[in-house]
Symmetry: C2
Subunit: 359 residues, 2 copies
């Protein structure tokens, strides 16, 4: 820029104005500046330097518990991103997808070093260092789903808004639905309970309660509450715990719980992707759904209707929109209190009355 200015014998500020404030200089001079820039191969004002000087960069960061590849594979997180971008894009804000990593230090470094004006963080475990790193940056933050508002309060993060759902109540509802249909032998297929990958397999109640992913913890608590209220001994309910929310894990989980005796008549999955795998396993083994086994999911992902899956609908896109709105409107405003979006039980063909002979 200095060079362009020198070439024409004008000040650097004038060159700057030629790009950013066309009304601040004569059209003629502006033309000459632009021509000189072109001639000298000046690529225009450097956005990084401008960002430094202006104190903002026009981008929102998105930090996700899992890696980016996972984020794109899961329809629900794609909806989240859709919601965020639906708000950010018209405002002219970019979306910086922050790279994940198995190594916590790299995760933290990525958040610490991201050139953004605000952060959306989504689905973190209670003890994820990524969150404290985000808070340390003193940027506006919007949390989606996890960690819970309670945990945020503990960390004392003032500029933080939160949006999610009442996972526990929603889980209770879907479990109550199965109980209404006469199911007594339940089983659960869960996704991750902790950041650190753990041996997959069946887990007892103590482990369930100690999950550091609050969504996992709350949903399990919801299923349990409904079951216990119906007089079911929860310790007899096999709860499988997989690494993440993929059809593959769902299949593994369904295989595990269906192998227990007496065989469960219902498989409750913590997500539709898990349920997808569970349905596959049922199909593979010749178990009729819902005649032999009912399967329910969670999320009402785009795939759920096609699978005929009974599930809990939640507005993932709405979460993203809310989070982004908080951050973009946030200039100076106090963040609103925790916002819980509505959920709705969606009954489809994958859940049915328990077979009479089975009772």
């Amino acid at each position: 820029m200095q060079q362009v200015a020198a070439e024409l014998g004008v000040s650097a500020k004038t060159v700057s104005n030629a790009y950013n404030r066309p009304d601040q200089l004569s059209p003629d001079l502006r033309e000459r500046v632009l021509a000189a820039a072109d001639r000298l191969g000046y690529p225009g004002p450097d956005p990084v330097a401008a960002g430094l000087r202006r104190g903002q960069v026009g981008a929102i960061g998105v930090a996700y518990d899992n890696g980016l590849s996972y984020a794109f594979a899961d329809p629900v997180s794609v909806q989240l991103l859709t919601g965020i971008s639906a708000v950010a894009e018209p405002a002219g804000a970019g979306l910086l997808l922050i790279p994940g990593s198995a190594d916590p230090r790299r995760r933290v470094a990525a958040v610490t070093g991201a050139l953004v004006d605000a952060l959306v963080v989504s689905s973190l475990a209670d003890d994820d260092p990524l969150l404290s790193a985000a808070i340390t940056r003193r940027l506006p933050i919007a949390v989606i789903d996890q960690p819970s508002p309670a945990r945020l309060a503990e960390l004392g993060a003032p500029d933080t808004s939160w949006v999610g759902i009442d996972d526990r109540a929603a889980a209770e509802a879907v479990c109550a639905h199965l109980l209404d249909l006469g199911h007594r032998r339940l089983s659960v297929v869960s996704f991750g309970m902790h950041r650190e990958p753990i041996e997959r397999g069946l887990v007892d109640e103590a482990a369930q309660r100690s999950a550091t992913y609050s969504v996992t913890r709350d949903r399990l608590a919801g299923y349990r509450a409904a079951a216990v209220r119906a007089g079911i001994d929860w310790s007899t309910v096999p709860v499988f715990h997989g690494a993440d929310s993929t059809p593959a894990e769902g299949a593994a989980g369904a295989a595990a719980v269906l192998a227990t005796e007496p065989r469960p008549t219902a498989v409750i999955c913590l997500s539709d992707r898990l349920a997808e795998g569970a349905l596959q396993v049922c199909a593979d083994r010749g178990l009729a759904v819902p005649a032999d086994v009912s399967v329910v999911g969670f999320d009402d992902a785009t795939t759920a209707a096609g699978l005929g899956l009974t599930t809990v609908a939640q507005d993932a896109r709405g979460k993203g929109e809310f989070a982004a709105t908080q951050l973009l409107g946030a200039t100076g405003q106090r963040p609103a209190g925790p916002r819980r979006l509505a959920t709705r039980l969606v009954v489809r063909g994958s859940s049915g009355r328990v077979a009479p002979e089975g009772a």
Copy 2:
């Protein structure tokens, strides 16, 4: 940072080192620096300033023809993003999704102002000012699909790599497949031909040839070449042109071409999403596929197998990976020449032999 340094009576550089070069100072002092930072509420080195000084920011920009919401809705572009992130993420690079806009000036401004080290641009029309804006920035650029290498050469962009497929050959192949099945009355449902939205409807050959989206142009040319070679008068083939690649446009297009007389026995769609809409229209009208009408798509999107759609498989993820690899490895290297990935005709149930009575 100055403040933290002053507080401890050390130099600013030492504070910087405490964060970035722990080996450059005694652990003891480092602790004290970090403690003082915490005490004073210093959020750590500002990534923007560091980016300015270092000359790089650790992010790749992604500019897409359509808006972000569209990018997330289309399975093919999600695969593209998956591919890019599969390479960028392990390298610790973020992905900045650059906001689109109907207003070309805003689109250009978004690209000009993006804080990135390199750019992936995808699916732009030949005359999109966004591309020249990107080139002006003199960053490494990787183009996916459009504009064509020929157009890039015209624009004289040296640091530009390109990846795509041979759209024309692939289109010929799928059309030849239909001709082999005995189809003589073809029809085509296309997505956008120009940046500016145009009246949807049937378009003649001159319009087809003048499409400024090279992918559209090439695919149409491919279908046409195969048809003409088989002795079909292309002017009798209804070619519908919609705004974008959505099931809704596909449905509108299929409705339009199926209303022409004599009714086509085959609907060639330029994408699987269009084909999805076309299949829906057939179902709605009681037309059996493929007995009454054959429908073919393009892309082999994740949805194609479920729909039983005959289509052209292309490796969208591979395109993303290639583009990202070029940019990350690119430090100093000449970009490789244009890279065309392989395609493959995938025959499924949606295409079949033309009904004997119809001939």
